[in-house]
Symmetry: C2
Subunit: 97 residues, 2 copies
């Protein structure tokens, strides 16, 4: 777990919003065809007003920081919060900040 990497990833409103929306997919992604239990697929985040390539870049940043996990199913990639990393990060920050 790279603390600075995570802080950099969190230091952007769009990425913070993505992580936040993933907390309650049923509220924020009611239009997704696939069951939300699988996760949220990338294209759903384009509703934040960003282009497909920009959304992909932000998701890549979150993934590199291990703040989200992915699962490929066919042509879709489903994103979920990585609660383990998030909890570990919060605990570390509580102690060391």
């Amino acid at each position: 777990m790279d603390r600075t990497e995570i802080l950099k990833a969190l230091a952007h409103p769009a990425r913070l919003e993505i992580l936040n929306h993933l907390k309650d997919p049923h509220t924020h992604f009611p239009t997704q065809e696939h069951p939300l239990e699988l996760g949220v697929c990338a294209s759903q985040f384009e509703r934040c007003g960003l282009s497909q390539s920009t959304v992909s870049a932000h998701l890549g940043t979150l993934q590199r920081a291990e703040l989200v996990t992915t699962k490929r199913l066919g042509q879709w990639i489903f994103y979920k919060r990585n609660e383990e990393t998030i909890a570990e990060f919060l605990a570390t920050l509580q102690k060391e900040l």
Copy 2:
């Protein structure tokens, strides 16, 4: 308290180190002439290997994020952690991240 502003401020190793060193001034700034109870004056942070102007910029970033408070005494400016903001930030992050 601007969460994104704070996250941006924390997303740099030098600023994280400054905040960390301020937790235990007696260990990290034993050479300061003035009593450490006043705070730590800016020039002390140059021991991190950064120039005076760079240190000043980092301290400015921390101050704008309200992560530190300052007190001017004569020609010196003493820096302390702003424990209120830090605690509020951590609490918010616990809830909303």
